[in-house]
């Protein structure tokens, strides 16, 4: 038999070598990330690498070697994003406050301004071959470069003092504009080592840092205006301060991420522009998920009973055709419905208009939009319940129906007195899972209505048909609300709690069944 487990059987030194290497690389990565201020990512790497090394080093954790890769994936892509999201909920992370304080400080310190003392007029001269000479002049000072080719490889040029302008042809302004990208990335050094950069079409100037760090290690001093700015850790922005140290100026972009405590949760509860839509959307989410479960259950269970009926011929064909809505990928069928329901050119409105002469506002009237969503979702969801019911129906003993037939019961009585009561118990955990799935049915809303019609008076993007998930998504990723990741994460955290509750309920329901 070939040994497929070489590292543990035949060559132990190889195993230790690999483990040592992994520890080294992992350790280096952790230190690197920590030094960059990305402590949560450093911690994640540390945990995953340490766990892996321990599990593969010890004989006692042999079984864990089999689950490590899978568990690592779950930790990395499910649990970590979850915890990270919760941690973002307590910060002001948003489109305007994205970077860490250190990075923002760095950005301010890297800002430069064109120093008038080192401003040069700039001209290009053609030489005999394809190369050019760059000529700089300031009052009586004249500097010139070696002949260079104006192409992407040109990144820096050193200048020498000269007495006379070059003799060649002076290039037209067009040459400058054409090569603007190359020129603006060009670093030019004067003989005394000052760095010049392009500051206008005809100008190069020295770039000196705009801000210098003050003695307190926090405040920055503007070299041009002598104004002092200081990071305000309450709002996550630099602001100008007056001599007594009070913040007086406007917040200066870019902002940085600071802890916001419970602020985002408070906003959900008290801010009118958020609380109003939040409650509306929450209620609709529950109604939507509940009604979806009821409708799909009703349609699915009835169809399953009919299709499993002994006397019916062609059951296999019916089954296949009835499952079709489930077989077509949802992202395609939802978009198909979006087109068919379109108010102006949709086929459904054309039929209705032809028959009754009315045009229905599927996307602008809240009630009609919700109706449309429920119709589409029932269409999408009933085959799943039907499949489940067909499986469960087989386990109902046939003599029950036999007995009821002797008693003269009709099919409807059979359904409500035998089929339904016997099936609802094994279905419960599946229905809870279905409720949880639809509670978070992001794809349906995103592709069908994208939340339309909008709720008026909301301070974030919010629509009447939005579910909590799509509402969260829009707060985080739609431009209008300023990409408020902190608020979105706070709402996501609340949804996590609800989903967690549903999950526990589900676990309990399925355990009841086994007992």
């Amino acid at each position: 038999m070939p040994t497929s487990d070489a590292s543990t059987v035949s060559t132990p030194w190889l195993k230790w070598f690999i483990l040592a290497l992994v520890s080294l690389i992992g350790g280096y990565a952790v230190v690197l990330m920590y030094a960059k201020g990305e402590s949560s990512f450093a911690l994640l790497t540390l945990i995953l690498v340490t766990a892996g090394v321990i599990i593969f080093a010890r004989k006692e954790t042999y079984a864990h070697r089999y689950i490590y890769p899978g568990m690592a994936a779950v930790v990395l892509f499910i649990i970590f994003p979850l915890l990270y999201t919760v941690s973002i909920a307590f910060t002001n992370y948003s489109g305007s406050n994205q970077l860490s304080y250190e990075r923002v400080q760095q950005q301010f310190l890297q800002r430069t301004f064109a120093d008038d003392r080192y401003q040069f007029k700039f001209q290009i001269y053609h030489t005999d071959n394809d190369k050019v000479l760059l000529f700089f002049s300031q009052a009586d000072k004249k500097l010139i470069s070696e002949p260079v080719a104006l192409d992407q490889n040109l990144q820096q040029v050193s200048l020498q003092a000269t007495d006379t302008p070059p003799t060649g042809n002076q290039a037209k302004l067009m040459v400058v504009t054409k090569n603007r990208n190359i020129l603006s990335n060009l670093a030019v050094f004067t003989p005394d080592g000052t760095q010049l950069a392009m500051s206008g079409l005809r100008q190069f100037a020295a770039k000196t840092p705009l801000y210098t760090l003050a003695a307190d290690g926090e405040s920055l001093v503007n070299q041009q205006t002598n104004e002092q700015i200081k990071p305000n850790f309450d709002i996550g922005f630099y602001q100008a301060v007056n001599p007594t140290g009070e913040f007086v100026g406007k917040p200066m972009a870019p902002g940085f991420v600071v802890s916001a405590g419970w602020f985002n949760f408070e906003r959900i509860l008290t801010d009118e522009g958020i609380q109003g839509p939040f409650i509306k959307i929450f209620i609709w989410t529950v109604i939507f998920a509940g009604l979806t479960v009821v409708f799909t259950l009703a349609v699915g269970m009835v169809l399953a009973s009919v299709v499993q009926w002994e006397g019916l011929k062609g059951k296999a064909v019916y089954r296949m055709l009835l499952i079709l809505p489930y077989a077509v990928p949802a992202f395609i069928s939802i978009l198909i419905f979006k087109g068919l329901f379109n108010q102006s050119f949709g086929e459904i409105n054309q039929v209705i208009e032809g028959l009754f002469g009315i045009r229905i506002n599927w996307f602008t009237d809240p009630i009609l939009a919700k109706t449309m969503i429920l119709i589409v979702n029932t269409w999408l969801g009933y085959p799943y319940i039907m499949i489940l019911c067909m499986g469960l129906l087989k386990s109902i003993p046939a003599d029950l129906y036999e007995a009821s037939a002797i008693d003269g019961a009709n099919p409807i009585q059979n359904f409500f007195k035998i089929t339904f009561p016997l099936m609802i118990k094994p279905l419960t955990p599946l229905l809870i899972a279905s409720f949880a799935f639809n509670f978070n049915n992001f794809v349906l809303i995103q592709l069908l209505t994208n939340g339309a019609p909008d709720i008026i008076g909301s301070s974030t993007p919010a629509g009447h048909t939005d579910l909590l998930v799509s509402y969260t998504y829009r707060i985080a990723f739609e431009g209008g609300g300023g990409q408020d990741f902190g608020l979105a994460s706070a709402i996501a955290t609340l949804i996590f709690l609800m989903v967690g509750g549903l999950a526990l309920l589900n676990l309990k329901a399925s355990k009841n069944q086994l007992a």
């Binding site: 038999m1 040994t3 059987v9 990512f41 954790t61 042999y62 864990h64 089999y66 689950i67 890769p69 899978g70 568990m71 994936a73 779950v74 990395l76 892509f77 499910i78 649990i79 994003p81 979850l82 990270y84 973002i88 009926w309 006397g311 296949m320 055709l321 499952i323 079709l324 077989a327 077509v328 990928p329 992202f331 395609i332 069928s333 978009l335 198909i336 087109g339 068919l340 050119f345 086929e347 054309q350 499949i387 489940l388 036999e402 037939a405 099919p411 599946l430 899972a433 978070n440 794809v443 592709l447 998930v469 969260t472 985080a476 990741f485 994460s489 996501a492 996590f496 999950a503 589900n506």
Partner: protein, 296 residues
């Protein structure tokens, strides 16, 4: 079977057939409409269910062939649909293979070995798989932004990153495979162990070959799940040429660029292979679905 037949049984069967066909007509109408629209002239025009002037223009565009209009102008294909389909298939196939590798090894340990924390891990996985990835998109985005700085081919806007992100969704599959492993008799493996086979060898040489059916089910389930996934893909992928179908198809129906006819052809074209896979695999999937669900 000696079921007592009521007198009006025949009448009821006909009623059932009638109602079923009525229901089917209603349910399948949207699908027929889209097929009709894909052959219809133009992107807005209305028409009957059977197009009066059938045209293959939308299909040509969907297949990436430029179309010459009657006035001599040429319409270029609006989107690379076949490339998107290929991207989707590529991502889904690689994802499924990796998911299979991760979940079978996990399931083996859970089914056959005793170790610390087994029960907590199993139940924990079930709970965590209910949390939708949509809610953690900000975190996932940040995660892949960071990963990309160290390992570029796993960063944002890469298929590698997308495949990686999908690997978290193994929990249900682990449960399904574990359930199947538990139905396989242990005696063969015990015999192999007596002959000196290592646990890894018994797993690879004995258990895996016996589990091919469930592996096929899990492969197809995760394949379909990866092909139809929208939110994570739409956050991670940025370039039109990197899109998967699920992200790309939305581009057709923006109000400012509404290409209804072109969409219909592209939709039918891309739905056909996926739907066929599903219907062919349906018989086994139904078992897998109920098994995965009931074991909770």
């Amino acid at each position: 079977m000696a079921i007592v037949k009521s007198k009006n049984e025949k009448y009821r069967v006909w009623l059932a057939h009638g109602l079923l066909w009525l229901f089917l007509a209603m349910i399948l109408l949207p699908l027929f409409m889209v097929i009709a629209i894909s052959f219809r002239d133009g992107n807005f025009s209305s028409g009957s269910l059977i197009p009066e002037n059938p045209t293959l223009d939308h299909w040509r565009l969907a297949l990436g062939i430029a179309v010459e209009n009657s006035d001599g102008s040429v319409t270029q294909p609006p989107f690379p649909v076949l490339l998107w389909l290929w991207n989707s298939v590529k991502v889904a196939a690689v994802t499924s293979v990796l998911v299979l590798a991760l979940s079978t090894t996990c399931a083996y340990a859970f089914a056959r070995m005793a170790f610390k924390g087994k029960k907590i891990l199993l139940e924990g996985m079930l709970i965590f798989q209910m949390f939708p990835a949509v809610l953690a998109l900000v975190a996932l985005y940040a995660l892949f932004d960071k990963v990309g700085q160290y390992i570029p081919f796993l960063g944002l806007n890469t298929h590698g990153g997308l495949i990686f992100a999908y690997l978290g969704g193994i929990a249900l599959h682990v449960w399904t495979i574990k359930g199947y492993f538990e139905t396989i008799d242990k005696s063969l493996e015990e015999a192999a162990a007596l002959d000196g086979a290592s646990p890894w060898q018994t797993f690879r040489m004995i258990l895996l070959p016996l589990s091919v059916p469930i592996l096929a089910v899990v492969f197809i389930l995760s394949f379909i799940a990866a092909i139809t996934e929208v939110p994570v893909a739409s956050i991670l992928l940025r370039d039109v040429n990197q899109y998967t179908l699920a992200v790309g198809m939305q581009q057709y129906l923006y109000p400012q660029n509404y290409l209804w006819g072109d969409f219909a052809a592209a939709a039918v074209l891309s739905a056909i292979p996926i739907t066929l896979v599903f219907i062919l695999a349906q018989r086994w999937l139904v078992g897998g679905l109920t098994a995965g669900g009931n074991k909770g």
